[in-house]
């Protein structure tokens, strides 16, 4: 059951940061609450103050500029991202990712900020944003800072968010030329969280043949979403081949640090990382090649 709490509603970012600062001893932020409320109902989280930022309209936005890229306000719902024509045009992998995330009902109310701050290694946006070299803007009453997502996820349900900080914005640079991003999760029931997931971003050289840059991010394969950096290195400067894909996928599965649970053993999770890495690198590569033409 939910323990009683003192409820405070913020209408502006400033108000929110102020409320957080005042109640810094024992507070939790609620926005969509699609993850938080489940924890509260089980008694796992019981803050004294609950600060509601759902109505902070100034954090609900989607802005795209050719040079700067995409800026998503933290209280933007998954559904807004899913249905955004801008995102479908410029970052189609995000549209796909959102369509496969939970349910329409969850996406209608749950927010991108809430999802990232929950720090679930099985979350979908994290790996995808990491693959796209994304960053987050964090603000507290005293300071504002920007952090690459690569550094945002620390451990199971633990992020780099400091006490008093609020995640305000997700920043995605414009997708570089000759670059494609692919993401897939493995699940038994569609839209369930992935038993394992892989995001791959491939940038091709100007001749459209060799790989200039690669990012491979593994989700639900470690205590936090991680980059498979050794696997990435193997791609740089190379041309695609079945053999290369096999080696890269093998390396990625070695870099994974999965934990067994009732859904899958550690060994099988590594096999899934292997299978998905192969598939996603190939998919991204082929898409990048098509773009390069």
């Amino acid at each position: 059951m939910i323990r009683d709490f003192i409820y405070a509603k913020a209408k502006t970012l400033e108000e929110a940061l102020d409320l957080i600062d005042r109640h810094i001893e024992d507070y939790k932020i609620i926005c969509g609450g699609q993850s938080l409320l489940i924890l509260m109902r089980q008694g796992l989280v019981a803050p004294e103050y609950l600060i509601d930022i759902k109505n902070v309209e100034e954090l609900d936005y989607l802005n795209f500029e050719d040079k700067k890229g995409l800026r998503i306000g933290a209280t933007t719902t998954h559904r807004t991202i899913e249905l955004s024509p801008i995102i479908k045009g410029k970052y189609p992998v995000l549209t796909d990712m959102e369509k496969n995330l939970a349910s329409i009902q969850t996406r209608n109310w749950g927010t991108i900020g809430g999802n990232l701050c929950h720090g679930d290694p099985a979350g979908d946006p994290g790996p995808v944003f990491m693959a796209m070299n994304g960053s987050v803007k964090l603000a507290s009453k005293r300071k504002t800072r920007t952090l690459p997502l690569d550094e945002f996820f620390i451990d199971y349900f633990e992020t780099a968010l400091e006490e008093g900080e609020l995640l305000c914005e997700v920043q995605l640079p414009p997708i570089p030329l000759r670059t494609a991003v692919a993401y897939e999760k493995f699940n038994i029931i569609k839209n369930d969280q992935g038993i394992v997931s892989v995001a791959a971003a491939i940038t091709l050289e100007s001749n459209g043949l060799g790989c200039k840059d690669a990012r491979i991010v593994l989700g639900a394969a470690a205590p936090a979403p991680i980059r498979a950096r050794d696997a990435e290195k193997m791609l740089i400067g190379e041309k695609i081949s079945t053999n290369l894909l096999k080696k890269v996928a093998e390396k990625a599965s070695e870099e994974a640090d999965p934990v067994a649970d009732i859904h899958a053993s550690e060994e099988y999770r590594r096999s899934l990382v292997n299978a998905l890495t192969k598939k996603m690198v190939k998919k991204a590569w082929n898409q990048a090649r098509a773009l390069a033409k």
Partner: protein
């Protein structure tokens, strides 16, 4: 084909408007004046002595009205096998010992749910943990901890079925194979969890609103445990949000709310949380299966030997029936000249295993059909041909067990074979698997020890022609209300909208044993038909007197028209006849009773449904993931009464049985269920359902109303087996352990690669 006016026509479910407008009131929705809310404290240990329970702090909490333990009850050990006292082993509120994680030890009634929950935390229970055992093959060992004093080596029940000559038959066999299987557990996952509102009043009467499949059983069981007279108890269940076998035994919500209410003389409501639902309500019986079969090289079945150990959990529940039925249906739907089954139900310190849709038959069918495909493969015989060769047929007698009166199995095989041929070449990594089954239309057993007819009905025709139909059957979504209204309307000669259905209330309705074992259509249906025939006869009596036809003419009623059969244009409106007939009956409405109890119908059931299902599945060789593409079922339920109902039952059965086959499981660690929620327990959503096709094979079952047999439960039998066989066809690997998870398929494929190399 007989022409019917009402049955076999798609009509709106009679409860439809209530359900689509949100008006249907479930026990979950019942709110009464002065109602309190109850919560149950449950054992965290799989096996422990209860040394002491200190309730003082809980009782002192503001808002708490009562705290009860087993000591506040009569301590009656109850069970649904009432006829056999040694199988009545469950107190519900444990007094001396707990035997599974989740067993109730105390219950609280408070002004609201939160207070009740807080009070649970304040109850101090002193346990002495005892060694526990979780697997039946461990529990049966000499030195295993004993759950019940009277059950040596934890053997709860044994069953033996035998006919023919096993040894001789194996000698005759050209090919013998043996296989071991492991069938998993499964949770019912009714959308409405177990719940009850009990209200005891100073007159000494108890009323219980509850979500149940049998209000009669609940009434009698409550009387047993509370020391009340049966008929000082009223059980009401107008709408039940799903049952699937989980809701015809007395459960903790019903028992604890009744005990609390009797103490306080106030209504007490207990709703089990989804976690409690997983942890502490009964579930499908897991089984360890051994099959040894001997056949001739032309595929003729000669002999099968089956040995099964079931994980009983802590109490008998309905597990004894599952044990028997799995052994009985292991021989279905084929002619096995020699057969032997030995089943052992073993107590374990886990949540009791009991009845779930199919009742041991889905487990049996999974094993049997998997083995048959392997036999066919070995002998190089087509898998449909081998089944056809040995199929049961109308008139076949299962030695000492049953007479099959109607059987459309061969036609079902033909239809599925045709579909497979038409389907043509499959994409790579795809396979079509088939499985055949037969199932009971209600059981002949009276382990409940009722003195009443198994089903009864009362009909009253009123002056405006409206027909009051009082039935004891329970509609839990399977559509029995609509089926009964249709049978009544058809037999009487009126329309469904003329029927006013009364059900779900033990005060108003005659006894029916409830919706389990797929008995309602045949048994309640027969009772309804009998009553309707009687009422019709009375109406016709009056009409005959009024019309004075030639004595050689017979009358009938069809679609509200009372007429001469030979000259149908000569007749009277049913409404006019009824209006006058009542005056002729001293102003009394026209009333009749009907009832049905199977007599001399063999050991299991008066009638058996049959079917064949083909599942087309694709396997991703990279991950082992199985996707269902098509599911085609040819089935024989005799005469279809409610076609929309039958289709719904088929599709729902596929979802549930496919889940049993490849997505659902209840993994445990030392008796603790590890996935007691709907995120980690995976039931099918829209996207995992295959395309479904039903092909009706019509037969006529003399035992059933208008020739009807069951449809809702038998359809759960084949899917796991068909799915397993589809994976076998697609990958060449046969997986003998349920559920068939991607990991298992992936590992099997890896093994196969290794062996190849």
């Amino acid at each position: 084909m007989t022409k019917f006016n009402v049955i076999n026509t798609p009509i709106h479910n009679v409860d439809g408007i209530a359900k689509v407008t949100g008006r249907a009131e479930y026990a979950f929705d019942v709110v009464l004046p002065q109602m309190l809310y109850g919560k149950i404290l449950r054992s965290p240990y799989p096996h422990a002595k209860i040394l002491n329970i200190d309730m003082t702090q809980a009782e002192a909490l503001a808002g708490v009205k009562a705290v009860v333990t087993g000591k506040d009850t009569l301590g009656v050990k109850q069970g649904i096998w009432r006829r056999y006292k040694e199988l009545c082993d469950e107190e519900i509120l444990a007094r001396e010992k707990v035997r599974y994680i989740g067993e109730p030890v105390a219950a609280v009634a408070a002004v609201d749910e939160d207070t009740a929950e807080e009070a649970l935390d304040l109850i101090e229970v002193e346990y002495e943990s005892l060694p526990a055992v979780f697997e039946p093959l461990e529990a049966i060992k000499e030195d295993a901890p004993l759950l019940h004093e009277n059950a040596e080596r934890n053997i709860n029940v044994t069953r033996h079925i035998e006919w023919g000559d096993l040894d001789e038959a194996f000698k005759q066999a050209d090919y013998v194979r043996e296989d071991w299987f492991r069938c998993s557990s499964q949770a019912h996952v009714c959308m409405e969890t177990h719940c009850a509102v009990a209200s005891y009043t100073p007159e000494g009467k108890l009323t219980v609103w509850t979500s149940t499949q049998s209000h009669y059983y609940i009434k009698v069981l409550l009387a047993d445990v509370l020391g009340l007279k049966e008929n000082d108890i009223r059980v009401i269940s107008r709408y039940t949000g799903g049952g699937f076998g989980s809701k015809f035994e007395l459960d903790s919500a019903q028992f604890c709310s009744a005990v609390l209410s009797m103490k306080l003389c106030k209504p007490v409501k207990i709703v089990l949380s989804r976690e409690e639902e997983f942890m502490a309500t009964k579930r499908r019986t897991p089984m360890f299966y051994y099959l040894r079969s001997g056949v001739k090289k032309d595929g003729t079945f000669l002999v099968k030997e089956a040995r099964v150990f079931t994980e009983g959990g802590a109490y008998t529940a309905m597990g004894a029936t599952a044990l028997y039925l799995t052994g009985f249906f292991q021989s279905f739907p084929y002619v096995w000249p020699s057969y032997q089954y030995d089943g052992y139900r073993v107590y374990t310190n886990t949540a009791p295993t009991s009845a779930m849709r199919g009742f041991g038959a889905p487990q049996a069918t999974f094993c049997a059909e998997t083995q048959i495909d392997l036999i066919a493969e070995e002998l190089g015989i087509d898998r449909i041909d081998i089944r056809r060769k040995n199929a049961m047929y109308a008139g076949y007698e299962v030695p000492g067990q049953a007479t099959i009166q109607s059987c459309g199995l061969i036609e079902c095989l033909d239809k599925v074979e045709e579909w497979i041929k038409d389907r043509g070449k499959l994409p790579p990594h795809h396979g079509i698997g088939i499985a055949a089954y037969g199932f009971m239309s209600g059981g002949i057993f009276n382990w409940f020890n009722t003195p009443y007819a198994f089903s009864s009905a009362i009909i009253q025709v009123n002056v405006d022609g409206k027909v009051d139909l009082f039935i004891g059957s329970q509609d839990m979504g399977q559509g029995s209300n609509t089926t009964m209204a249709m049978i009544c309307a058809e037999e009487l000669g009126v329309r469904v909208e003329d029927i006013r259905l009364h059900m779900g209330d033990t005060d108003k309705c005659p006894v029916d044993l409830g919706a389990w074992g797929s008995r309602e259509t045949l048994m309640q249906g027969n009772a309804v038909k009998m009553a309707a025939a009687d009422v019709k006869r009375q109406i016709i009596e009056y009409a005959a007197a009024k019309m004075s036809p030639n004595i050689v003419y017979d009358l009938d009623i069809k679609d509200r028209w009372v007429h001469l059969i030979a000259r149908p244009e000569r007749g009277l409106s049913y409404f006019d006849v009824v209006k006058e007939a009542i005056r002729g009956k001293e102003g009394q409405p026209i009333v009749a009773r009907g009832h049905y109890t199977p007599h001399g119908k063999g050991m299991i059931s008066p009638a058996y449904s049959f079917g064949v299902q083909a599942v087309e599945a694709g396997v991703d060789p990279e991950t082992g993931k199985v996707s269902l593409k098509n599911c085609v079922t040819a089935h024989d339920c005799g005469q279809v009464i409610n076609p929309l109902g039958v289709q719904g039952q088929l599709e729902g059965a596929i979802a549930m049985a496919a889940g049993y086959g490849f997505t659902e499981d209840l993994p445990m660690d030392e008796g603790k269920i590890l996935n007691p929620n709907l995120v980690d327990y995976k039931i099918l959503r829209t996207t995992e359902m295959p395309e479904t096709t039903v092909m009706e094979v019509e037969t006529y079952e003399p035992e059933g109303p208008f020739g009807a047999k069951e449809a809702g439960e038998g359809l759960t039998n084949p899917t796991a087996g068909a799915l397993a066989n589809a994976v076998f066809q697609a990958t060449g690997t046969s997986i003998k352990e349920l559920p068939i998870t991607p990991e298992k398929v992936f590992n099997a494929l890896k093994e196969k690669e290794k062996i190849k190399k």
